[in-house]
Assembly symmetry: C2
Homo-oligomer: 316 residues x 2
Amino acid sequence: MPRTPSRIMTVAAAQMGPIARDESRQAVVARLIDMLRQAKDRGADLVVYPELCLTTFFPRWMMEDQDEVDSWFERTMPNPAVNPLFEAARESEVGFCLGYAELAQEDGGTRRFNTAILVDKAGRVALKYRKVHLPGHAEPQEGRKFQHLEKRYFEPGNLGFPVRRVMDANMGLCICNDRRWPETYRVMGLQDVEMVLCGYNTPTDHVQDPAINRLSDFHNHLSMQAGAYQNATWVVGVAKGGVEEGSEMITHSAIFAPSGEIVAQAATMEDEVVTFACDLEMGRKYKETIFNFAAHREPDAYRLIVERKGAEPPAA
Amino acid sequence: MPRTPSRIMTVAAAQMGPIARDESRQAVVARLIDMLRQAKDRGADLVVYPELCLTTFFPRWMMEDQDEVDSWFERTMPNPAVNPLFEAARESEVGFCLGYAELAQEDGGTRRFNTAILVDKAGRVALKYRKVHLPGHAEPQEGRKFQHLEKRYFEPGNLGFPVRRVMDANMGLCICNDRRWPETYRVMGLQDVEMVLCGYNTPTDHVQDPAINRLSDFHNHLSMQAGAYQNATWVVGVAKGGVEEGSEMITHSAIFAPSGEIVAQAATMEDEVVTFACDLEMGRKYKETIFNFAAHREPDAYRLIVERKGAEPPAA
């Protein structure tokens, strides 16, 4: 039986192996362009790169010197180091999603965000997102081999979880730790999102507990599978992983169907391109039945989700 | 290495095979008591029975006669048919969770809910919950082998998702379709829930699409695994399943750890008791790190979850 009519977006998850501390942005961009060409050769419409993919994962180190911290940030996007990627993508007529550390002058001050942009096939920034759920801590913790200082170097994103019509699809972005929070997907699901792009850097020692850390890969997939299924959306999860400056980070980049199934998965801990022809209509049947939100959701019963931040136990 | 200090609640998932249409409540209660005794022999503190576990799953049939509909409901709880279960549990000092159709006189009218109660070891109803997410439809649909008329026979629950301290644990309840909705677990997670009990009746043809139905068991587990992990709570999922009056229903009752792992699972499509010694402290490490809600949640970014019921696509 031939397939029913569909809208196909062929997407490439462009996983990255480690980026060395002293690797230049120019060298990294050359790696990104190489993967873009592989993706194009496999028919990709869109290439998804990881979170903070222009440099090593610098929040693992405590830095007192603000100039040193700021050296990991981009003041403009694009900029001379990244222009070759924009040019290659425009020439190839391939869109891309890129994660980077953003230093912005905004509201009369200097602001720092963990940011991702979606660039369309014409090379225009069509969607920007700033990471809402910053993991880790603001002060260095003793006894850790590596710190996780995202709460020190960034502030929480101030753009919400926007969904935009880009390349004829309802597209949304999230970043790394966002993927563990069902609210992330739901806010986008309520905007009828059809594909969520999520880059990540996840050290296997981000919690100081081996009983949790041993499940890092399982939790990574579980979160994205559930987000995909419960919102009937494609999810593209892309790692920067492997052993980076001595820190072991998960890989297992994958593409998740609106059924929650993993339909493609990276096989290495290195730069690797995995592609899948995603039918953007696939989620429709779920959105019209089990996950017909208008028919089945009961927002009055959900008020605690916005009225309470932390957990509070019931009376004894 | 010995285990760290812990609070153990040994829980029994008491899965049920089919209940025939003409099976009396007395006969069903005898089955429940038999499983309670098996559970007690294995050291259980708590037995969890399925949704609507006193009768066959009647919402599969269109009934015009309200008296016939109401014959499937309980007007009081306990009542003479169910008293032997309450007595056996009290004698055994075992708590239990029971799902039933509740007919209540409330606010000056007759109300009908899909209800679950948690009864403590002294035989007191310590927690009541009425199903919030009613699946299916209110009018019979042509071309279906079986209807799914929960929206006709019940109204949505009006008690929210309460969490109560019962048997020295923070306990919450949900029912069947509730388990697919991340809001269910999150509202309880915000009340520091430690164990969620969820009975279900899930026909494999509840959606008229074989591409979705073939994944019924996967979606069942995926939803509960994610709910457990993302709220660091135990989840106990208990089926009434097998082929009931010609309708095929999923089984695979399971107990889910706060890690999201399946730690026990039924092996049959019949009455079957599965037990696990649940350490109620297990979720604590997650609640203090990755899922420290007070440190990491950003409720301002979640407002759409309560402000919007149905999905609305972005502007083109």
